[in-house]
């Protein structure tokens, strides 16, 4: 087991790169939420805008990550940030928009119409309805979107090592360059483990944040 040997002898490096990886993904995810969730909610009020926004996010998603880094390079070079963490985070934010916006939008538009009708009829304004009914009911689906975005970002962030963003991709990239098998496998292993943990963490969060009245309903229908 040369891989384990590699890891034990390069503990510090592996740990540092893992933290760096988490940092890139966490920052990107944080920014994606701040941007994506409000957009997802805003477009529920306008069907035309919703179509355009979701289509745009869809197209972004189809751009291969390597190509996206390439596109960002000359643009960000204008502010001297062509390489490193900045383009990596920007790319991750762009990729994360689709699952976050789409899930937020779908979750809010899927709130049963009679709840909206009852809320309006009882005299709740838009903001109150959003805060007390639509968002609480949408939270599980929004979290599911974050979950997809997070897992996907962990994978793409590994590629960002090629533009000098750091993170666990460094192990893979340098391993390939040096034909150092153990190094590649160690990098891949950490990326996978990280993805599995984050996925599990979000699954737990999804369950915890599901409103109790909905959870009970699911248990009853089982």
């Amino acid at each position: 087991m040369h891989v384990i040997e590699y890891i034990t002898t390069h503990k510090e490096l592996c740990w540092r790169l893992t933290l760096e990886h988490i940092w890139i993904v966490a920052l990107a995810l944080f920014l994606s939420i701040i941007i994506g969730v409000p957009i997802g909610i805003a477009i529920t009020r306008n069907e035309q805008a919703a179509k355009k926004v979701i289509n745009t996010a869809n197209i972004l998603m189809t751009i291969p990550s390597i190509a996206l880094f390439g596109i960002l390079l000359p643009i960000l070079s204008l502010i001297n940030q062509g390489l490193g963490k900045v383009p990596a985070v920007i790319a991750l934010v762009l990729y994360s928009q689709l699952p976050i916006i789409r899930n937020t939008y779908t979750a809010i538009t899927n709130v049963p119409p009679e709840l909206v009708e009852a809320g309006r009829g009882l005299g709740m304004n838009n903001w109150k309805r959003l805060k007390e009914i639509e968002i609480p009911l949408a939270v599980p689906v929004i979290i599911a979107g974050l979950r997809t975005a997070a897992v996907m970002s962990i994978g793409i962030a590994a590629i960002a090592a090629y533009i000098g963003a750091g993170g666990l991709g460094v192990l893979i990239q340098q391993g390939i360059a040096r034909v150092y098998e153990e190094m590649i496998i160690a990098g891949a292993l950490f990326v996978s483990l990280l993805a599995i943990f984050v996925d599990g963490g979000f699954a737990l969060l999804e369950r915890l944040l599901t409103p109790k009245g909905i959870r009970i309903g699911r248990e009853l229908s089982r």
């Binding site: 309006r120 009882l122 009914i133 009970i216 009853l220």
Partner: protein
């Protein structure tokens, strides 16, 4: 009071414009329940939704207690009225308590006052507060949810309540029960209620007045009695049905038709042969046997023939005793079911207060119709 003045609502524009509500004018008096009745697409729900500005008016005015609804903030207007819908729309993420507290919360009532009010409403709707307060809507049956929906719309004690087929989603047996409860509660609260329904029976039962719509137009606005006995045109006659004479029976109460001074009455301690004599003399085919003030049963000449001793021993008990407030529909149903055309009416203590016969019922229906013709 709600006053509708030439209320018109047009959906769409140009060639596709459709008048969902077309120049409707009428008043709903304070404390009345008015049933908006008609087939789907007749404009009844649209009119209801215009009333609390869920949809904007095209033309006309709606005036509530001397104030044009357009002069009031839409959200405030809705908070001041109760609103219940067929789909109920209880918020699944909120407990029963929180659901009922929706409008009081919007009005920023103090917590103590809200709690008192929620308990009061749950008790009024026969749901035990300790059992139901902290439950979630999914844990309740359809009928219970419907009650909570009613409680929620009454929470802030609104003077005006709008209900859109509020009992439409429950099965017929429970619906009957919740309608009775609704009438009992309304008897105490005396709210002004606009009640949308497509069920003529429900309209007759709950409505002090019925407004019948067709294609957005108000065709007739009258009490259930007049609608049934004097439908304005063929549309309404068809809508209320060929059996409208039978429906009148659902409106009439025993107390209005019964005979309070029947002469065919005897005490149970009378000798059977004397009773037979008494009956042949007067030509009675039926005689009520009394034990003090309570009816014991009845005898017929056939059951008395060749019998000796006291009449008590040959008396047959009545299959059913009628109460003053039973509808004639129920009375007639009992008669047909038991093949018994004379029934005793008793008071709350079981004392005899009169009899009711098929003839009495027939006469009271005829009375209703001839009165209307005058």
């Amino acid at each position: 009071m709600i006053r509708y003045e030439s209320v018109t609502k047009i959906f769409g524009s140009g060639q596709e414009a459709v008048a969902a509500v077309d120049d409707v004018t009428f008043d709903i008096e304070k404390g009345d329940v008015v049933a908006f009745l008609g087939p789907s697409g007749c404009g009844k729900t649209t009119l209801l939704r215009l009333t609390n500005r869920l949809i904007p008016l095209t033309r006309g005015r709606i005036i509530i207690n001397d104030r044009d609804i357009m002069s009031v903030d839409a959200v405030k207007l809705r908070q001041s009225m109760g609103y219940a819908i067929q789909a109920i729309g209880l918020f699944p993420n909120k407990t029963i308590y929180q659901n009922i507290a929706t409008v009081p919360n919007l009005l920023s009532w103090e917590e103590e006052r809200i709690e008192k009010r929620v308990n009061e409403l749950l008790i009024m709707l026969q749901l035990d507060p300790d059992v139901f307060k902290d439950r979630y809507p999914v844990e309740l049956s359809g009928g219970q949810q419907q009650r909570v929906g009613v409680a929620r719309c009454l929470a802030a004690d609104p003077e005006i309540v709008l209900m859109d087929e509020p009992f439409g989603a429950i099965d017929p047996i429970n619906r009957e029960e919740i309608q009775n409860e609704f009438l009992r509660i309304q008897g105490n609260l005396k709210k002004t209620i606009a009640f949308v329904t497509h069920d003529i029976h429900e309209a007759i039962k709950v409505g002090d007045k019925i407004a019948i719509f067709q294609g957005g137009k108000l065709i007739q606005y009258d009490t259930p009695e007049i609608i049934l006995t004097r439908p304005k045109n063929k549309y309404i006659a068809d809508f209320v049905g060929a059996d409208r004479a039978l429906k009148v029976l659902g409106l009439l109460r025993t107390k209005d038709a019964m005979n309070t001074k029947p002469r065919n009455i005897i005490q149970s301690s009378t000798d059977a042969r004397k009773v037979l004599e008494f009956m042949t003399d007067h030509g009675f085919k039926h005689c009520i046997v009394m034990e003090g003030d309570k009816p014991l049963g009845y005898v017929t000449p056939k059951s008395l023939k060749h019998k000796n001793g006291l009449v008590r021993d040959v008396t047959e008990p009545h299959p059913k005793l009628i109460r003053k407030y039973d509808t004639l529909r129920d009375v007639m149903s009992s008669m047909l079911m038991h093949d018994e055309y004379v029934l005793c009416v008793v008071g709350d203590t079981g004392d005899f207060i009169g009899t009711i016969t098929m003839n009495d019922i027939q006469r009271s229906i005829l009375n209703v119709y001839t009165e209307e013709e005058k």
